[in-house]
């Protein structure tokens, strides 16, 4: 184990996989000479050269599609979006080509590509730069999605994503890059589709993914001071989805809150809530409550942005509602 930042852990995963597999390459804006807009690929140009670490023009549709084409020919591209906000320009290549290719070809052509980069809001980046894009990536079958919340998960899940034979989106977070944590040394791969209980409790389940894991844990700590013990489940992988773990925590607490960074309407939370009510209906003592971004484009002003983001208080309130407790200071 070594303490690494989330950024370093992602770098370690890419290095681990590029060392072991010559077909893996990294392409994206500023990934090479600039070491990555967020310095995630630091040192990789030097290590692998311009053939395998490639600066792309600002042509998201084009370079994403080029990477899909390269994957069709058996390479394993890591396609970095400077942020996932910009990948909306590339969605046609993700949805119509990467996701559907295997099916349309009757299994002849798989697309072992990774789309990665930060998603969701950072600080005051305003409406066009603060978007959580999970929904756009998982609605269509054919793409997998992981959302590492810790440095260890960043390493293990990115490595697994690179090795997976299907398109996998890895959504990181600008605000996560500096987070530190213990990361296993040497080869480290976390299987996709395995959620992780980040905290154990019997009163209410807080289910979440990505950056919000940290906010959920803060809320759980504060709830604990009030005598409410939350079970915090980090899905880590949205597709494949660890349904067993979801049903287990709901069976344990009979109450659940879903916390997500993005908008609520047809968000990941909507899917999880409807799945819980479909498959654990009789276990629920109260409705599952969702905590999400305010249903508005992200405002720039500091105070409004804070108000728009899912908050510790918001989660606490939701847990209390799920427990039919009076709201108020935790």
């Amino acid at each position: 184990m070594t303490e690494l930042t989330y950024r370093e852990a992602l770098n370690a995963a890419m290095v681990q996989e590029m060392d072991r597999d010559e077909t893996v390459f990294l392409m994206g804006e500023e990934v090479a000479e600039y070491d990555g807009a967020y310095k995630v690929s630091r040192g990789m140009l030097e290590r692998y050269g311009a053939r395998r670490v490639v600066d792309a023009p600002i042509s998201e549709l084009g370079f994403a599609g080029l990477c899909v084409g390269a994957a069709m020919a058996g390479l394993r591209p890591i396609c970095e979006f400077m942020t996932f906000n910009f990948s909306i320009l590339a969605l046609d290549q993700v949805i119509n080509n990467a996701a559907k290719m295997l099916y349309m070809t009757n299994g002849q052509i798989n697309v072992p590509i990774v789309f990665r980069g930060p998603g969701g809001a950072a600080l005051q980046l305003s409406a066009q730069h603060s978007q959580a894009c999970e929904t756009y990536y998982v609605h269509a079958p054919g793409v997998k999605l992981v959302t590492p919340a810790t440095p260890a998960d960043a390493k293990g899940l990115l490595a697994a994503a690179i090795r997976d034979d299907d398109p996998v989106a890895v959504m990181e977070g600008e605000l996560l890059y500096n987070v530190k944590g213990q990361v296993p040394d040497g080869e480290y791969v976390i299987p996709l589709g395995v959620a992780e209980r980040k905290r154990s409790g019997e009163d209410v389940s807080i289910i979440t993914h990505g950056k919000m894991v940290h906010v959920a844990l803060q809320a759980a700590d504060r709830l604990s001071r009030e005598g409410v013990e939350a079970d915090v489940l980090d899905l880590r992988s949205i597709r494949p989805l660890d349904v067993d773990a979801i049903l287990a925590t709901v069976a344990r607490t009979n109450r659940a809150v879903y916390v997500e960074e993005g908008w609520p309407f047809v968000g990941v939370g909507a899917q999880i809530v409807s799945l819980i009510q479909e498959e654990a209906f009789d276990h629920l003592d109260s409705p599952v409550i969702r905590v999400a971004q305010a249903d508005v484009p992200m405002p720039y002003a500091k105070n409004l942005e804070q108000l728009a983001k899912p908050s510790v208080t918001g989660i606490i309130e939701a847990c209390k509602r799920a427990l039919y407790l009076p709201s108020g200071a935790a």
């Binding site: 084009g62 046609d92 349309m104 009757n106 798989n110 079958p141 589709g193 395995v194």
Partner: protein
């Protein structure tokens, strides 16, 4: 039309196309008349006249004519099958553009890669997919080259380097760049030929792909099948400039070739493929052709956007099959009997293809969820429709067992 090469540094010399073809006796030739002609069995070599034309031997000339005739008959069969409901969905017929399928693809190596749009039946055959497998795909059957899952717009066979069959206009252009990227990454000496329609050059993907291909000098040839129309829109209505003006912006040489002249086209592509294989970098080819049918099976041949007279003139004067047939006959390289033999041969192949397709089973319902993901991970759920995926599977019928069914 004289093929031209505009700004750029391609080594490929443009070839000079012959004049537009009319029948050697000066009479106007209706494409239907080609039906009168057939070809000797390809294995039976005639010894009468082996001089050929230009660099083409008599055998090669016959093979090219036969090839185009096969495409023509195949498409006519597809039209018939569509009319009686054997084929569904959108079906885009290539009739009139056969010169390009033969002329641009036949010079390629088997391990070269071809990727294209949805009007691709004949291109798939040209690259080496059996007419049976193409027809079965149009029928949506197990033995189709995409297992019946793709249909007319999504023909694939990686074993012969045919990489589809894509339905989003322009969507295949970045993929073509990516295939070429992979070739270069691996240090291979294949090339990728990426076809598109004339309307596709107005998609942003065109700019992005050509620019990346240029800066990375990828071994790719972008070929516009310039049949003059994107559905009902003629190119001049959506472009102030000529097709060959579109690639210079990225430093990619533009070439124009007459796609109705299969010999010129073949020669041109043979040389261009060599050049690209030897490092000439990406190329852009404006291949001028004409669509003799409607945009798709539901579209009339002529209508508000092009006159009946225009279509008739094109089919009369610019039929690539008629043009080659007449040249061969004029040169004494083909007689009526040979042509008829050729034709009945390809007709037999197409009859066989529909028989085969008809006999091929529908995909088993149990396969509905196959090939959504290449890997089912050990944990976690991938499908969320709440349906029992095995319940969909009926008992498999005997006809579904062998690779070629009944």
């Amino acid at each position: 039309m004289a093929p031209t090469k505009s700004k750029g540094k391609a080594k490929a010399a443009a070839t000079k196309g012959p004049g537009l073809g009319t029948a050697p006796d000066g009479s106007t030739t209706h494409p239907g008349e080609a039906e009168a002609g057939v070809l000797p069995h390809p294995r039976r070599r005639s010894i009468r006249n082996d001089d050929g034309i230009g660099g083409f031997s008599r055998g090669r000339l016959h093979a090219l004519l036969r090839e185009m005739l096969l495409y023509r008959r195949f498409e006519e069969k597809a039209e018939e099958a569509y009319a009686i409901g054997k084929i569904g969905g959108f079906c885009h017929i290539h009739i009139g553009q056969e010169g390009l399928a033969a002329g641009a693809i036949k010079p390629l190596r088997e391990d070269d890669l071809v990727i294209t749009a949805y009007r691709e039946h004949t291109q798939a055959i040209a690259k080496g997919i059996a007419p049976r497998a193409v027809m079965a795909e149009l029928y949506g059957r197990t033995d189709g080259c995409s297992g019946g899952r793709g249909g007319s717009m999504h023909l694939f066979d990686t074993s012969v380097g045919f990489m589809g069959g894509h339905g989003i206009v322009g969507g295949q252009i970045p993929l073509g760049a990516g295939l070429a990227w992979a070739i270069k990454y691996r240090g291979g000496d294949q090339i990728c030929v990426c076809f598109m329609g004339d309307a596709a050059v107005n998609q942003g993907a065109f700019l992005e792909s050509l620019n990346m291909s240029a800066i990375w000098q990828l071994p790719v040839v972008y070929v516009v099948e310039n049949n003059g129309y994107g559905m009902g829109t003629s190119f001049p209505r959506v472009s102030l400039t000529k097709m060959e003006d579109r690639s210079g912006a990225y430093g990619i040489p533009a070439h124009t070739v007459d796609g109705q002249d299969v010999l010129a086209t073949f020669e041109f592509f043979a040389r261009l493929a060599d050049d690209v294989r030897n490092g000439a970098g990406p190329q852009f080819v404006n291949a001028v052709t004409y669509r003799f049918r409607g945009h798709s099976m539901s579209d009339p041949v002529s209508g508000t956007y092009r006159s009946k007279a225009e279509v008739e003139r094109q089919t009369r004067e610019r039929d690539p099959i008629v043009i080659l047939r007449d040249r061969l006959m004029e040169a004494g390289l083909l007689d009526q009997e040979e042509l008829e033999a050729m034709d009945s041969n390809v007709r037999a192949i197409c009859d066989d293809a529909t028989d085969f397709a008809d006999a091929s089973p529908l995909p088993a319902p149990s396969t509905l969820y196959d090939h959504v993901y290449a890997v089912t991970n050990d944990s976690g759920r991938l499908f969320f429709d709440g349906r029992d995926r095995r319940a969909a599977a009926p008992r498999s019928r005997p006809s579904e067992s062998g690779p070629f069914g009944a």
